[in-house]
């Protein structure tokens, strides 16, 4: 039976791990290579790096981090943040990333998703959707949550599946950093709409939230950052807890 995945996410800025609260308030939390290794040794099903150095300064630091991590961690590594082109994707894959997540570029130029999934295979193309609720719908935001594209998140998710995305990483901007739980409504609506796996992100504050993301949000995988970073919970604790709630996990 296929197991639900737990994915710790490390926000990386200028080659260092930081923790993001509503995409703004940042705090140093250490060396990404070391932390990734601790997570993979602890049973993380995948590791995710989100490079929030973004398009401006020090873009090359992430390549170095990815290269070093991929020599030490033998579970899948996803890297996102500031990925603009097929060439960026190629570079990250060559450094040892297994998947690349595309956010802003997928909105501005959906061809990047189509071209890269054709070139590298849809298995390594993750489309990241940052969605914020507006009335009774959700809108897709870009540029690390700064710009509202006005695009309907549900329609966009369907479109990205058609364009060749292998997975969707869905972050609720309303919940990110709040620790009050995933936006279950958003997750379950998108998950029901598409046939590709959905990774739920944004808002995890306790282990029950992970359970809800899978049971109610119908996500195939749950991504979390802060609950793992400051030793609040280990990945193993999270897995044991999910297991005790009858959710299939790899132990």
């Amino acid at each position: 039976m296929l197991k639900n995945r737990i994915i710790p996410c490390l926000d990386v800025k200028n080659g260092r791990v930081v923790k993001g609260i509503n995409f703004v308030d940042l705090k140093d939390a250490g060396d990404p290579v070391e932390q990734a290794k601790i997570y993979s040794d602890g049973g993380a099903d995948e590791i995710c790096f989100l490079d929030i150095t973004a398009s401006n300064e020090n873009r090359d630091t992430i390549y170095d981090v990815v290269e070093k991590t991929s020599k030490k961690c033998f579970v899948p590594l996803t890297v996102g943040g500031g990925v603009r082109s097929v060439e960026d994707i190629n570079k990250l894959l060559n450094c040892g990333a297994d998947k690349v997540s595309i956010n802003t570029a997928a909105v501005e130029n959906p061809k990047v998703v189509a071209e890269s999934s054709k070139k590298f295979g849809s298995q390594c193309i993750v489309v990241a959707i940052d969605a914020k609720k507006n009335g009774d719908k959700w809108e897709v935001f870009t540029h690390g949550g700064r710009n509202n594209s006005g695009i309907d998140a549900l329609e966009y998710a369907e479109q990205m599946e058609k364009n060749g995305a292998g997975e969707l990483l869905v972050t609720s901007m309303d919940r990110d950093g709040t620790q009050v739980g995933y936006d279950i409504d958003l997750m379950s609506k998108i998950s029901s709409k598409v046939n590709i796996p959905v990774i739920a992100s944004g808002g995890v504050g306790n282990l029950d939230h992970l359970v809800d993301g899978i049971k109610l949000g119908k996500a195939s995988a749950v991504l979390a950052a802060s609950i793992f970073h400051y030793g609040k919970h280990s990945v193993k604790e999270a897995k044991d807890y999910l297991d005790s709630k009858g959710i299939p996990v790899r132990i």
């Binding site: 197991k3 033998f74 292998g166 046939n195």
Partner: protein, 208 residues
């Protein structure tokens, strides 16, 4: 000993290279090349593969003489070869991803899309799934039945002769996830991404 990972521009092989180097340490020489003479002179060959069946076969055929060299290595000289993911799928006679494409024809059978039962199962089949070992394979030495392996695929290899199947995994139906036919080995899952247990499979192959 020389183990060669065939680099035929089939997508991302960094993880395969990293994992083999990690396991080999200084004992075994890991080469990454598409040079025909280097492939011929190696003791073992790894055939990775990512993307579609068609794109991998096309990439293989683009390098003049590569298919003949691999045939000579695995079929004529019967030296050990490990296919990973689409590398395994290409053992088949024919694949149906994108369009009907001829495979290497080493293990009779076809590669077709996983039946997702009208959307009941998500595709690609991504994540950790348990393998059901149905026959002892040399690459499964010291690997426990029901071990978790990492999968990413939407197509499955359906061999005609079920005796080549060494393991299956349960996703929508029983999917063939490992084969062994004499000197030819293949895994649908990614041992290079399957943590310590995956590295053990790589170690078993290197030590054949």
């Amino acid at each position: 000993m020389n183990v060669t990972i065939v680099d035929y521009k089939s997508g991302n092989i960094s993880s395969v290279i990293n994992s083999f180097k990690e396991v080999a340490k200084d004992k075994v020489n890991i080469k990454v090349t598409s040079d025909l003479n280097k492939i011929k002179s190696s003791d073992k060959v790894v055939l990775p593969g990512q993307g579609s069946f068609k794109s991998c076969v096309d990439a293989l055929n683009k390098i003049k003489g590569l298919t003949d060299t691999l045939n000579e290595f695995a079929i004529t000289n019967k030296k050990p070869l490990l296919g990973i993911c689409v590398g395994l799928q290409m053992f088949a006679d024919i694949g149906y991803e994108e369009t009907e494409t001829k495979g290497l024809g080493w293990i009779s059978g076809k590669v077709s899309k996983i039946d997702n039962q009208n959307g009941k199962f998500k595709l690609p089949h991504i994540g950790w799934n348990q393998i059901n070992i149905v026959k002892g394979s040399k690459i499964f030495k010291d690997i426990e039945n029901n071990s978790h392996m990492y999968f990413v695929h939407s197509y499955e290899f359906v061999p005609n002769d079920k005796k080549v199947i060494s393991a299956t995994t349960d996703y929508s139906s029983n999917i063939v996830c490992s084969v062994e036919k004499e000197n030819i080995f293949g895994t649908q899952f990614h041992p290079e991404k399957s943590d310590r247990i995956g590295l053990k499979i790589i170690d078993n192959f290197i030590n054949l």
